[in-house]
Amino acid sequence: MAITKKQSAELARQAFEYAPAPEAIDHVKIQPRHGLFIGGRMVEAHSKKHFPTINPATEKTLSQVVDADEVDVDRAVKAAGKAFDSWARLSPSRRSRYLFRISRLLQERSRELAVVETMDGGKPIKESRDVDIPLSAAHFFYYAGWADKLEWAFPNRKPRPLGVAGQVIPWNFPLLMLSWKIAPALAAGNTVVLKPAETTPLSAMLFAEICMQAELPPGVVNIVTGAGKTGSLVVSHPGVKKVAFTGSTEVGKLIQRAIAGSGKRLTLELGGKAANIVFEDAPLDQAVEGIVNGIYFNQGHVCCAGSRLLVQESIAEPLLEKLKRRLSTLRLGDPLDKNTDIGAINSRAQLEKIQGLVESGVDEGAELYQPECVLPERGFWFPPSLFTNVSQSYRIAREEIFGPVLSVLTFRTPNEAVEKANNTPYGLSAGVWTDKGSRILWMAERMRAGVVWANTFNRFDPTSPFGGYKESGFGREGGVHGLLPYVDLN
C-alpha cells in the first residue's frame, strides 16, 4: 500500500502536537570576533582577514573568525614544535592528568558547548546535548588513561611520539571530531595544530578556552581557523610530522597526493555509502527506528550514514509503509528546540549539493517520497526524503549525498545482499537487521567495512575503533587501535 502525500499529512496531524521547547541561550556568550589560539593564548592574526560564521537555521552571523594565512599557520606549527620536546618528556602521569582535566571541563561546560554546537552547525540540541558533547568528554577521559600506559598497548615496543600533528576536521561533529583527533595525539605525547571546519569553528574556539582553563602547557594545542586553503597549509607545512584528516574522499585523495614523498604519517577518515540491510525475519519496528537513526541522524551529515537501504523483497512493502509513516512524525525545525528531530542543513553549499543529487535521482528515474513538511522561511532546510525504484547505477545509489536522503534497493538472497552492499568504492560502515545469530556473523564477516552495526546503527564509543576500508580511508580512531597512528614503534 503506497502512502500518498495527503495521507502522510493526515498522519502528521494525528501525531501529538508539541508546544515549542527551545533551549535557553542566555547563559551562552559568543564573542563577536575571534583570534587564533597559538602558543597558549588567543592572538591577533597576521592575515588580518576575518569571515563570518553563521547560524544555518537563521542565516544570522554569530561571530567573525580568522581566515588564517601562511604566516599564521607557520606560527602555530612553530609553537607546537617548540612545545613538543617538553610535552613529550613530561611525566606520562602528568600528561594523563591534563587530559582528565580537559575531559572534566568539557563536562562542566557541556550545556554551553551543546548550545554553541547547535547554533553554529544546525544540529538538533538533543543530539549535541546527548551525543556530541558527552562523547567528546568520554573520548578525552578514555585517552587520558592511556597516556601513562602506552607500553602496555604495544607489546615488545617502546612507543615514542611523532612530533607535531596537523589535523583537519569536518563540520558534521565539530567538537567530537576535534576530540577524536586531539585526545589520542596528546596522550601519545604529540603536540597539535588543528584546523576546524570553515562553517563550524566556534566550539573549537571554546575548546581553546578550555585548554587555557586546564592550564595546558602553551603550544601543546594550537587552533587555526580558515577554509580549505588554511587546511592545505597545515598539512603541507614541513614542521608537521603527522597528518590526520576527516572529510570527503575527494579532499582525502588531494592530501594523500600533496604529502607524497614527505615521509609524513597519514590517516584518513573519508566518505561512505553504507548499506543498511534488512532481512525478512528482522523485527520491523526496531529496524524502522534503526533506518531512521541511520540516515536522518544529524540531517544525514554523517560519513557512516546508512544511506542505502537494502531490504529483502518479501518485506519491502510493509517495511516501506512503516518507514513512510515514521517519516511523517519526524519534527523538522528550530535546532534549539528539544523536540526537534531534524535540524538545519549545515550550509547553503551543502544544501545545494543535496538538492542537485536529489534532482539527479528524479531525472534518472527513481521515485521520490517526502512527507508533508513545512520548511522554515529562513535558513537551510531539506525534508527527510527517500527514493524507491533505485538502480545501483544511479548517482543517488553511488555517491555520498551527506544529507537526509535514503535510497531504497531490494534483494532476494543473502549473497545478493552482500554483493550489492560491497558494490561501492567506499567501505566505512554497514548495518544488518535479522533475528538469526548465525546470519549476523555470516554477514558481518562479508561486509567490506570498518564498522558493522547489527540490529543497531550509528553507535559510537571511545573504546570502539572507527575507520574505513578501501576509499573510506585508513587508520582507526578510538580504542587502543586509535593510538597507533600517533606513535613511532621503530
Binding site: 568520554a138 607489546p155 615496543r157 574522499t249 582525502g252 585523495k253 588531494l254 594523500q256 597526493r257 604529502i259 607524497a260 614523498g261 584518513l268 573519508l270 568504492p425 549476523i440 558481518a444 561486509m447 567495512a449 570498518g450 564498522v451 558493522v452 552495526w453 547489527a454 540490529n455 543497531t456 553507535r459 564509543d461 573504546t463 570502539s464 575503533p465 572507527f466 575507520g467 576500508y469 578501501k470 576509499e471 573510506s472 580511508g473 585508513f474 582507526r476 580504542g479 587502543v480 587501535h481 614503534l489 621503530n490
Partner: protein, 268 residues
C-alpha cells in the same frame, strides 16, 4: 648435456611467458621474462578472484600451507643455495627464508588474539574488533637478498589472508621466480601469489595506479620511487607501506590488515 629451465612468470597458479613476448638478461646469460602492464593486470585479476577463498580459509589451514611452503623450500635447499651463488652466505639466506615461513606459519591463528579486542563500550552492546586482510597487495621486492628479500615481505602479507602480486628484484629475479615452484607445490591456491619479473621503471606506475590493488609494500623502492608511488596511490586511497625495518614482526602483518568492529545489542 643440461636440460635448461625456461624462467617464467607465475600468474594464477600457472607458469607463463610474458604476454608481450619480451625478455631481458639481468646476468647477461639467462633470459628472464620482461613482464608488461597486461601481465600485471592479469595477475591482479587472478589475485582478486582468489582473495575471498584465501581470506576465508581457516587460520589453521593458512598456517599449515605456509608451513608446507617452508617444507618445500627446505627440500630444495641445494637448488636454491646454488641459485644464490653457493657458499655460507647463500646457505644462510636460504635458512633465513625457511625460518621466516615457519615463523609466520605460526602467526596465522594468533594475530587476531593479539591485535583483536573486545571493547567495553558504555552501553548494552557487545562490541569486538578483529583484523581482516586488506585485499590485493603489491610487493616490490628489495634488490638485495634475491630470495629472503621477497620471502620476508611475502610471508606476513599471506599470513593475514591477503593475496599478492609481487614484482621481483630487477637485477636478480631467478630465485624469486623459482620460489613460485615452491608455492605451486605447497597447496597455495592459484592466484593467491603472482610473481612478475621485469623492469621496475616500466611497471611501478601501473602497479601504483591500479584501481584494484589495495596496498603496496615499497620495500624495494628508492625515495623517488616512493614519492611517485604515493602520488598515484591516492587515486584509490591505497595503503602505502614503508616499514623498512628488517625484522619478523606481527606489526608487519598488521600493516596489511583492516580492523573491523562489530556491534550488537545485549537484551532479552
Amino acid at each position: 648435456m643440461d636440460v635448461r629451465k625456461t624462467y617464467k612468470l607465475f600468474v594464477n597458479g600457472e607458469f607463463v611467458r610474458s604476454e608481450s613476448g619480451r625478455a631481458y638478461r639481468p646476468d647477461g646469460m639467462v633470459n628472464v621474462p620482461r613482464g608488461s602492464r597486461k601481465d600485471l593486470r592479469d595477475a591482479v585479476r587472478a589475485a582478486r578472484t582468489a582473495f575471498p577463498g584465501w581470506a576465508g580459509r581457516t587460520a589453521m589451514n593458512r598456517g599449515q600451507i605456509l608451513y608446507r611452503a617452508a617444507e618445500m623450500l627446505d627440500g630444495r635447499a641445494a637448488q636454491f643455495v646454488e641459485l644464490l651463488g653457493g657458499g655460507v652466505r647463500a646457505r644462510r639466506e636460504l635458512e633465513r627464508s625457511v625460518e621466516t615461513l615457519v615463523w609466520y606459519a605460526g602467526w596465522t591463528d594468533k594475530l587476531p588474539q593479539v591485535t583483536g579486542t573486545v571493547n567495553p563500550v558504555a552501553g548494552p552492546y557487545f562490541n569486538f574488533t578483529i583484523p581482516e586482510p586488506t585485499g590485493v597487495v603489491a610487493i616490490v621486492a628489495p634488490e638485495r637478498d634475491a630470495l629472503s628479500g621477497l620471502v620476508r615481505r611475502l610471508a606476513p602479507v599471506l599470513c593475514g589472508g591477503n593475496v599478492v602480486v609481487a614484482l621481483t628484484a630487477e637485477s636478480q629475479p631467478l630465485a624469486a621466480l623459482t620460489l613460485a615452484e615452491v608455492l605451486a607445490t605447497s597447496d597455495v591456491p592459484a592466484g593467491v601469489v603472482n610473481i612478475i619479473s621485469g623492469q621496475r621503471k616500466e611497471l611501478l606506475p601501473w602497479l601504483s595506479s591500479h584501481m584494484d590493488i589495495n596496498a603496496i609494500d615499497t620495500a624495494g623502492c628508492t625515495t623517488d620511487e616512493i614519492k611517485a608511488i604515493e602520488e598515484s596511490a591516492a587515486g584509490n586511497v591505497k595503503r602505502v607501506i614503508k616499514l623498512t625495518k628488517d625484522e619478523m614482526s606481527p606489526y608487519l602483518i598488521s600493516a596489511f590488515m583492516e580492523m573491523k568492529t562489530v556491534w550488537h545489542p545485549i537484551g532479552v
